[in-house]
Assembly symmetry: C2
Homo-oligomer: 220 residues x 2
Amino acid sequence: VEQRRTRSARPSRVPLSRAAIVAAAIEVADTEGVDALSMRRLARHLGYEAMSLYNHVTNKDELLASMVDAVAAEVGRPDAGEPPLVAIRSMAVATREALGRHPWAAHLWLRSVPGSARTRLMDDLLRLLDESGLAPELAHHGFHAVNNHVLGYTLQQLDMSAGMENLDAAVGAYVEWMTAEGYSHMVAHVGQHLAGETTSSFELVLDLILDGLVRLDAER
Amino acid sequence: VEQRRTRSARPSRVPLSRAAIVAAAIEVADTEGVDALSMRRLARHLGYEAMSLYNHVTNKDELLASMVDAVAAEVGRPDAGEPPLVAIRSMAVATREALGRHPWAAHLWLRSVPGSARTRLMDDLLRLLDESGLAPELAHHGFHAVNNHVLGYTLQQLDMSAGMENLDAAVGAYVEWMTAEGYSHMVAHVGQHLAGETTSSFELVLDLILDGLVRLDAER
DNA sequence: ACCTGAACACCGTTCAAGT
DNA sequence: ACCTGAACACCGTTCAAGT
């Protein structure tokens, strides 16, 4: 065990690899935000120089795509036993949770061509919609409806909580400004949020969409 | 008329102003993409040096926020005569159209504290939901549901059309890869899009959400 | 009051040189 | 095979100097 320590002048740094770089990038993005994630900063974090990263990663864009796909991989796959619509619901909730763990991911989600994990996710969702017995056209629309809901809701929520963490004063000033300008409905709405009256809008609207699809299919 | 020409050595450039800068920034973003929009590039486009912009705009972030609010201003306000739910539907469609005209706007939409135009938009939507007679809790959820739908759908659509314009080859390669990897449902889904079988998913799902809210309210 | 040159502290990326 | 110093062509922003 002790022999290992004498191998290199800088024993603390781990050997570079694609996986190590992606993992470190996610760590930096989680703790300091994506805007703070530069190739130079990331390399320093790993104990190397910026240019070394290019031996394992072709691009910053490609790195960002890999980070997004790593988040998609966290979602996991649906239970084989569950009825299709239940599985769809679980997938949506699990995706939302994974995106919530990495606040930068939702903003990058659509920026790049999907990797294997995100493609797997989408393929599973399409399969479940198919298995649910919905008419093909409704399944097609359902795919977009569910995706939109998950991503849109997550973005909106992250936006709002980001506003409350970093910009406490800014939100206060915004509410004050809205009050002065007479945006009364917005003041009331933000008030509901600040009062914590936000019951799970995500799952309510998700069910509204899923139930609506089933109903449309029955009326067909 | 001719006298004017002798006033300055560079008569072609228009006097700088906040409005002129925002308008030029939108023009650059529309034609070359947001990523190409730098303070230096924008200034050159206007015939000035980068530092001159800071006499009229405090920040690049503030400039981006103003651009987004200018897009929000394009949406216009709902007709006073229409029934609330009809007006809500028109607002959603109009917002989608405005975002479609400026593909960069959807990505920036949630990045900054809303300006007066976007606040007006949100306040109008909340008012209409209130006037529709929905239970307050359903109105609250409906606000998020509609916002999510409009933004999410637009992002998803822009993503896909961007993929087809710039990255024709990339999409082809992606489909080929998916075929090889056995993501059969995704291959079929993308095939439906490429075949132009995309009937208006946006309005169908929007109605599904609005009808669902009304139904939930009736069951209350 | 408004414009700007020079400067500061950064970027992503290439390339030739090192081991 | 992998790491890196120097360099290139950029960034946003500040500040003092010009008019």
